[in-house]
């Protein structure tokens, strides 16, 4: 519960996340949902108004990091080791993106995540999916 509070407080205050307009929607045990509005400054393809892949990466990296921080058995700090993103289809111009990340396994030192990003057209399937590994520190239980 404590780490979920940290996640809530920290994530929206990160300067880069703020610059991209990210918003924390939900946080749970090892799970997070963040959203990012469409913005003309984030466009990668001027012909279609599609958001740049790099901005989608930033949303997914942030959401995945939040899911790791929100693990109750960790110290609430993390850094990305690697992140692989697969782009299924272009995000629709003008629509808000919503990314859900789950930290599905941890070792004493590594957290593994999966993430999916959708736009407002959920029936069209995901815009992008990601898998990654993050640094993880298990919290020492004080008994």
């Amino acid at each position: 519960m404590q780490n979920q509070t940290i996640a809530r407080q920290v994530i929206e205050s990160l300067p880069f996340s703020q610059a991209l307009g990210m918003r924390l929607e939900e946080v749970g045990e090892g799970r997070a949902v963040l959203s990012m509005p469409w913005d003309a400054r984030l466009v990668g393809d001027p012909h279609t108004g599609v958001i740049h892949g790099g901005a989608v990466s930033a949303l997914m990296d942030t959401t995945a990091g939040t899911a790791v921080i929100a693990r109750g058995d960790g110290t609430g700090t993390t850094a990305t080791l690697d992140l692989r993103i697969d782009y299924m289809r272009p995000a629709r111009s003008g629509q808000r993106l919503r990314c859900e990340a789950v930290c599905y396994h941890t070792t004493r030192t590594v957290a593994f995540i999966r993430a999916t990003t959708q736009d407002e057209d959920a029936e069209a399937g995901p815009v992008a999916t990601a898998v990654g590994a993050f640094t993880f520190e298990r919290r020492e239980e004080v008994s």
Partner: protein, 168 residues
């Protein structure tokens, strides 16, 4: 028959710079991050100038992983797009005079992109270069390395696959 005199160096340079500028200026996200490109012949070096808005961890402080990943992906796309455009200009398939006048060359599309975070991104300028490992008719594979103070100590690297733009 004497060979035609080569064009003045300034004319060639300006033409190439104009083509590169057209490629880069069309993408709003590149301007949003403040990324610039330094050209030496066909070789490009991307520069991400330090800005406070690129910070992810204010206590360290460190660059946001998303800013770093974005920088690498921009470098890969422009690096690949530029290598395609360069070949088309040199072979005469594209008239460089037509580029830039409201006509933006099509860029490759990312299929997948894997970023490897090697070290903490420090709060200072970063540089990156892309290497096109394979460029076919449909697909390309590109590797990117980014560094800050020391070229031999990259702080991030990435590999991605791209869909080539349609011929026009």
């Amino acid at each position: 028959m004497s060979k035609p005199r080569p064009e003045p160096v300034q004319v060639i340079k300006e033409r190439r710079d104009r083509a590169l500028d057209a490629l880069v200026r069309g993408v709003p996200y590149i301007a949003f991050l403040g990324i610039a490109f330094d050209r030496r012949g066909d070789e490009l070096t991307a520069i991400l100038p330090y800005r406070e808005t690129h910070i992810g961890n204010p206590t360290l402080p460190a660059l946001h992983g998303g800013a770093t990943a974005s920088f690498l992906e921009v470098t890969a796309i422009i690096g690949l797009g530029w290598s395609i455009l360069w070949e088309r200009i040199e072979s005469g398939a594209v008239d460089p005079a037509a580029i830039g006048a409201g006509r933006i060359p099509a860029l490759p599309k990312t299929i997948d992109f894997t970023t490897d975070f090697l070290r903490t991104g420090l709060p200072r300028d970063a540089y990156a270069r892309a290497l096109v490992n394979r460029s076919g008719r449909r697909y390309a594979s590109v590797h990117v390395e980014a560094w800050q103070d020391n070229r031999a100590r990259p702080f991030a690297q990435a590999t991605g696959h791209f869909l080539m733009p349609a011929d026009d």
